[in-house]
């Protein structure tokens, strides 16, 4: 602090003398910064991308601890609350302000004509939300037993429907949180598989060139020219219906990556083509480095940042693919919970007209897809050394 004040004082005294005194410091900082640090500095400027990172971190954390975050058991049906509308979180009522949010209970009546259940908020029944309440027992990641939930009602017999209830009276909020685990992870796993395939095939194609390159390029063009959804539909309908859910999950992931790798292979190939003529590759070769070492130690690190950006941009396609297939009923099937499976409940618009909250999983799909797009865009701009 003192030094800066001193510099400011001297700059006042000497006029513009401070500019050459300060500039080298900044320049030096840029000069010694690693490539990753430079990327981070440039990425930091994208406000939208930073916000998206936060959104994604929240979503993935909730998905990771979904048993703990969800206030209810997402599989437990409740006949008394079929298609109950969302409860509003309230801070105000006639008695004034309450810092602890509360919800009103339901007053249940029946429509005299259609016998449809009607739910009206009942101001006489007030339930306060508490953190770390005891609720439905669960096993976190299948082995940690607990019944603590992040938040919920102390009155265990009262339901909490922040996002309403579905056609079987199950809590939509809990179901969406559980669905996030499947829907968000399928994108990551699928991208991992695509990355391995894409870098391997694209790398071979770009590094060796010639006939190999020609064959691979034709193959990629061919894959791109097949309409993906009919192909995915055909392949996933071919998954045996008696497979256990885990196997179906991986089957779907592999099917999604079957097409996903092609775009990635193109990026990798282009980079290999450009980089293999560089002097540092020649130097490594003259120094006696093996082909494998050149690829892994010299070529891959120089386009890793690009690879990560393209990977991020290909995750939304995977998430949408899973959602679409499950929505059509040929991807993941109930009782597995994914966003696509949840949206199946909203397939009929007449049902949706009575219970619009059934569309909420779609909102989260859009949110996740947009966030990945923004992060990917930010990363791509940050990774480009020729950006203005």
């Amino acid at each position: 602090m003192e030094e800066r004040a001193l510099a400011a004082a001297t700059s006042k005294g000497k006029g513009n003398g401070a500019v050459p005194a300060q500039l080298p410091e900044v320049e030096e900082r840029i000069y010694v910064a690693s490539q990753w640090r430079l990327m981070w500095w440039r990425f930091r400027k994208h406000k939208l991308a930073i916000a998206s990172v936060i959104v994604l971190v929240v979503m993935y954390t909730a998905a990771l601890f979904c048993e703990f975050v969800a206030p209810a058991n997402p599989y437990a049906p409740n006949q008394d609350f079929v298609q109950a509308p969302p409860q509003r979180l309230r801070f105000w009522d006639e008695q004034g302000f309450s810092l602890r949010p509360f919800v009103y209970g339901y007053k249940i009546t029946r429509d005299p004509e259609t016998y449809r259940m009607l739910f009206v908020p009942d101001p006489d029944k007030k339930y306060y939300l508490h953190f770390f309440v005891r609720g439905a027992p669960y096993k976190l990641w299948g082995f940690i037993r607990s019944d603590r939930h992040l938040f919920g009602l102390v009155e265990a017999d009262q339901p909490l429907f922040l996002f309403g209830a579905d056609g079987m009276g199950r809590d939509m909020f809990s179901r969406i949180v559980y669905g996030a685990r499947i829907s968000l992870s399928i994108g990551l796993v699928g991208v991992m598989v695509s990355m391995v395939l894409g870098t391997l095939i694209g790398g071979v194609s770009g590094y060796y060139g010639g006939a190999v390159d020609l064959v691979v390029q034709r193959l990629i063009e061919m894959l791109i020219s097949i309409p993906s959804i009919p192909l995915w539909m055909g392949l996933s309908a071919a998954l045996p219906p008696d497979w256990p859910p885990v196997q179906v999950y991986f089957g779907i992931t592999v099917i999604l990556s079957l097409i996903g790798w092609s775009g990635l292979a193109r990026v990798v190939r282009g980079k290999f083509m450009a980089l293999r003529e560089e002097d540092f590759v020649m130097a490594a070769r003259l120094a006696g480095a093996s082909e494998m070492r050149i690829i892994v130690r010299h070529l891959v690190p120089s386009f890793l940042s690009h690879l990560i950006a393209s990977l991020t941009l290909s995750i939304p396609g995977m998430i949408l693919g899973e959602t679409s297939l499950s929505f059509l009923g040929i991807g993941l099937r109930p009782p597995v919970i994914s966003w696509g499976v949840l949206l199946q409940g909203a397939q009929n618009f007449r049902t949706v007209a009575h219970a619009p909250w059934l569309l909420l999983p779609g909102l989260f799909v859009v949110l996740a897809v947009l966030a990945f797009n923004f992060v990917g865009d930010g990363l791509r701009d940050a990774a480009d050394p020729y950006a203005r």
């Binding site: 791109i224 020219s225 392949l235 929505f327």
Partner: protein, 327 residues
């Protein structure tokens, strides 16, 4: 140019061959076949088919022969325009597919036109007036358009129209024209309803193309020849459309081939949601019921048509931009 077209035509042969293998694999992959599904259905309703009847059915559908022979038979018949019989409908596949396929391509064609008509002016506007309020609005809209899956948009629109105005926006025809033979009135009726799937299918494509058009035009506008032309006193409008726009338009043409598979893909799900008489619902049903020949031939046909579409767009591109022919 002729040489280029000939080369591209030659490339198509292995592509189509491999697509046929994939399509046939889809036919063969499900465990069991239509007959086992059919038997299970029969058993559920309480009737048992006799051994002889099963054997006769197997022979009739060629299910008793080895896989490679069935593939060769299938391709051979396909080349002669015979796509086999649909088990479920008990009608020739070609007959079932044809009308839906034409409608699918009509919808795709209109969607492409819609995408162009919207993305072209907006892309130019966004580039010329970079960082203006309009640019920000369109950029924001196009990001959202890219993020919303088509079928979700269709659902939301259906729900909105139904709960607000009580109309069901499903189908491509009014009830009175549903089964009517083609006539001028039916076409007009279709035109009244076709804009719904067209707009829904077009959103993501439009959004993507706006982004591309804007980026490309911005690159061109920064080039020295634009400054030269401006310095010579060329009117701004004439300058814009004479040079930079003509170069920036390339992606419009080159993406025809890419948008077509995308549109056909998108149309598959959207048509299930909107219950349109397009290929989607038929394909989905065929896959769910293991109606193998119908599903396989359908995927084969859709893929081949998109391959041809890609070829057409490549030829168009080579015609517009001579540099491409010689690489």
């Amino acid at each position: 140019m002729l040489q280029y077209i000939a080369r591209r035509l030659l490339y198509m042969v292995p592509t189509l061959l491999i697509i046929s293998v994939i399509a046939f694999a889809i036919i063969e992959l499900p465990p069991g076949d239509y007959l086992t599904a059919y038997m299970a259905n029969l058993a559920q309703t309480g009737t048992q088919a006799s051994e002889d009847a099963i054997a006769a059915l197997k022979r009739q559908y060629g299910l008793d022969k080895p896989v490679y022979l069935r593939y060769v038979h299938w391709v051979w018949r396909l080349l002669h325009g015979d796509m086999g019989m649909s088990f479920e409908w008990n009608r020739p596949v070609a007959e079932l597919i044809w009308e839906r396929l034409i409608l699918t391509f009509v919808v795709s064609l209109f969607t492409t036109l819609f995408i162009w008509a919207v993305a072209f002016p907006i892309g130019i506007y966004s580039a010329v007036r970079q960082y203006s309020v309009g640019d920000y609005i369109f950029t924001g809209l196009s990001f959202i358009g890219l993020g919303i899956p088509n079928f979700l948009l269709a659902l939301v629109l259906l729900w909105f129209a139904f709960s607000r105005w009580g109309v069901a926006l499903t189908g491509l025809f009014s009830p009175q024209y549903m089964d009517a033979p083609w006539s001028m009135a039916k076409v007009l009726d279709m035109m009244k309803r076709i804009w719904i799937p067209v707009v829904i299918l077009g959103t993501s494509g439009t959004a993507g193309l706006i982004r591309t058009m804007r980026a490309n035009l911005l690159d061109e506008l920064r080039k020295p020849y634009v400054i030269t032309a401006r310095a010579k006193g060329l009117p701004e409008m004439r300058l814009l459309f004479k040079y930079p726009v003509r170069i920036a338009i390339n992606p419009f043409i080159s993406t025809v081939g890419w948008t077509l598979p995308g549109l056909v893909s998108g149309a598959t799900i959207v048509s299930v949601v909107l219950s349109l008489p397009l290929n989607g619902p038929l394909l989905l049903n065929a896959l769910l019921n293991q109606d193998m020949y119908l599903a396989g031939s359908f995927i084969m046909l859709l893929s081949s048509l998109t391959v041809i579409g890609t070829l057409v767009s490549d030829i168009l591109l080579a015609w517009v931009d001579p540099r491409i022919r010689y690489t």
